[in-house]
């Protein structure tokens, strides 16, 4: 157990989401009339404590990005409350704020996007990209602005001389760092990281993850970390929430969720992690049945058509998300009763030692 992982963590809640919904209209036919709704986010509840990282995982299309964007009001919610503890004005419900009021809260919440290639404006220099939020908020100008940008770039490991270059001149990892510098510009409290390392190779991914952790410690940042790679999520998160078709089905400490899952969907997810060991090849059991359609979800528990533990009640009654003890939240009728399989620790593949530095070769001889 490593609950004391981060010093800045407290039990104070920074963000609490209650009953959040985001429905997109479906237009069809010749007249493009609204014929239904995609219930991308359909009544979710969760909270994030100050200084912690909450991982958010789930099937592709289950509503993770929509959740992240709605929290920041980049999308307007259909229903629900988004209570944010703003350092200046105290607790506010972001869902109810007008555009003008939002402008005051915005600096405290930022987002880092998945795609380091398309998320930076190619026409702006790196300096302009990082400085833009400062200018918009009129937080700095002139020399003070340049100094702050230089400081931010330094913070993410990019040499400030690069300020005048354009994004295309940087690699994926460097662009992701530029995106992080921009997100940090206004000293935010909360950063939504939407798959920040998915597009990066493992070594650069490790650098960016280490950077995010260092920054968190230094500035007491709080992260909502959306990702698919469950090993990355395990590495970085204090707690993890699992989403299924617009609904949170389980939320617990990382340790509990990975090693003692209580929801059948979480179990299926964990079983599908591809293990970096060619001697342990597994073809995970396919979830039976179709992926549910968020425009027309199944009755009762949304997972019931694919759940191997489903019983009659599951078809009719939707289980609420409830705390079964120790802040382990589960939305399953049988959470207490089921014995589910967690992950096994991957300690069998050898960690190969790096070769050591060799003695110098006296005179360089041509290769044989």
């Amino acid at each position: 157990m490593d609950t004391a992982k981060k010093n800045g963590r407290s039990d104070e809640i920074l963000l609490e989401v209650r009953g959040l919904k985001k429905h997109f209209p479906i237009h069809s036919g010749f007249l493009r009339r609204v014929t239904g709704y995609v219930k991308a986010v359909d009544g979710i509840d969760f909270y994030i404590k100050k200084g912690e990282t909450l991982g958010l995982v789930g099937e592709s299309g289950c509503g993770k990005s929509t959740t992240g964007r709605t929290i920041l009001r980049l999308l307007d919610p259909t229903a629900g409350e988004i209570i944010f503890d703003d350092p200046n004005i105290g607790k506010v419900d972001l869902a109810k704020l007008s555009r003008a009021q939002l402008k005051r809260v915005r600096p405290n919440m930022q987002i880092i996007f998945q795609d380091p290639f398309s998320s930076l404006n190619p026409r702006l220099t790196v300096g302009q990209i990082v400085g833009e939020p400062l200018e918009i908020q009129k937080a700095a100008s002139g020399q003070a602005l340049r100094d702050r940008v230089a400081e931010l770039l330094q913070e993410v490991g990019i040499r400030p001389e690069n300020m005048t270059r354009y994004p295309h001149a940087f690699s994926g990892g460097q662009r992701q760092r530029i995106g992080i510098a921009r997100a940090l510009a206004l000293n935010p409290k909360l950063i939504v990281c939407d798959e920040p390392v998915s597009a990066l190779d493992v070594s650069i991914q490790a650098q960016v993850l280490n950077l995010l952790e260092d920054l968190q410690e230094k500035y007491n940042l709080t992260y909502l970390f959306i990702a698919h790679d469950l090993s990355v999520v395990e590495h970085i998160s204090d707690r993890v929430a699992v989403m299924y078709v617009g609904y949170i089905v389980e939320m617990a400490s990382t340790e509990d969720l990975y090693y003692h899952p209580k929801h059948p969907y979480t179990e299926a997810l964990l079983a599908a992690i591809p293990k970096p060991d060619p001697r342990k090849r597994t073809r995970p059991i396919k979830l039976p049945g179709d992926v549910p359609n968020p425009a027309n979800p199944p009755s009762g528990c949304y997972f019931h058509p694919r759940c191997r533990y489903a019983e009659d009640i599951c078809k009719v009654e939707r289980p609420p998300l409830r705390d079964i003890g120790g802040e382990h939240w589960v939305a399953c009728h049988f959470a207490e009763r089921l014995q589910l399989q967690g992950v096994t620790r991957l300690n069998e593949i050898p960690l190969i030692e790096l070769p050591k530095r060799q003695a110098p070769v006296p005179a360089a001889s041509p290769a044989s």
Binding site: D2, S60, G61, S65, Q114, D115, S118, S171, G172, G173, E195, A199, D201, V202, S203, Q205, A206, N210, H228, D229, S231, H235, Y258, Y259, L269, A272, I273, P274, K275, P276, D277, P278, R279, R281, R283, P284, K286, L287, V291, N293, P294, A295, V343, T344, L346, N347, I349, P350, L351, I352, L354, P355, K356, R357, Q358, A359, V361, A364, A367, S368
Partner: protein
Amino acid sequence: MTNAAATGTERTNIQIVSEDDVVRVEDLRLSFYTSLGVVRALNGVSFNIPRGKVLGVVGESGCGKSQTGLAIMQLTFGRIEEGRILFREFNTSEVIDITKLEKNGPEMRRIRGNHISMIFQEPMTSLNPCYTVGHQIEEAILLHQTRDKAEARRRTVDILRKVGMPNPERIADSYPHQLSGGMRQRAMIAMALSCNPTLLIADEPTTALDVTTEAQILDLMRDLQHEIGTSIMFITHNMGVVAQMCDEVAVMYLGRVIERAAVDDIFYDPKHPYTISLLRSIPRLGIARGQKLESIKGTVPDPYSTVPGCPFHPRCPAAIPGLCDTVMPEEIFIAGSQTHTVRCHLYT
């Protein structure tokens, strides 16, 4: 295939010769001529993929993985300076050198649509935002598979279902921006799989997918591999996927293949210091939580310059002064092996 081996003598790279190869890339060199200078993106890439096998291609961002794939498709904007790309379709003995074909000539277009297909790394740049996803897949099917519109529609919905889309009819009628990241990626995959290719080039095909959907896509590819005998060039940075999916692995660094071996050897007996560092930087479940991940120190040198000696030497913990910084290591077999090659002075 004999003519391929005959001219192989003047090349520095080892050819692992197999009668069964579907594609064989030999000493491929590719450059970009830009206003800022010349980028030598590929500096002699060689590998082969046997029929029905999966070759994993891994390596740091910018090392040339995508450009290698694009070169095979003749879709790169760079100039192929040297080298050959030999390709053999299903059920023929004829070997075609793709580099000799005209980029947009009828022969290349025929190969691209029917025999080699590619899942591109950036779905948003390869899906047209102005057309529905279904329309784009149907077009591809109508171009190469059938002329019957209703049949094309039916196949489109069918392949969308196979890649795990909920309500494939809705997805077919959606525009790319109405789909989640992973749905766009699956639309791309559906398009690439619709033609049952001899060779599938999958460039980071599952980066935007959750693990259950990923498992489903990998299964779909294995089916193609087993039922049709498709060979796959699988570019990825997910070492878990490499371990689960690939038969052989080529590790690239700065436009060269620096280690090639069976997947088991790459994980259990890696030789090149870069490969070892790469394996050490993956987060492992349940191990060292809360500790810093290892990463390779330094960064890839900028692409306009060339590094003397072994290109990895400025970052290599085992570099031999006086040798590694002056002499480029050749690709050699590891002692006692016929399949495991490495480019590193530690093994000469």
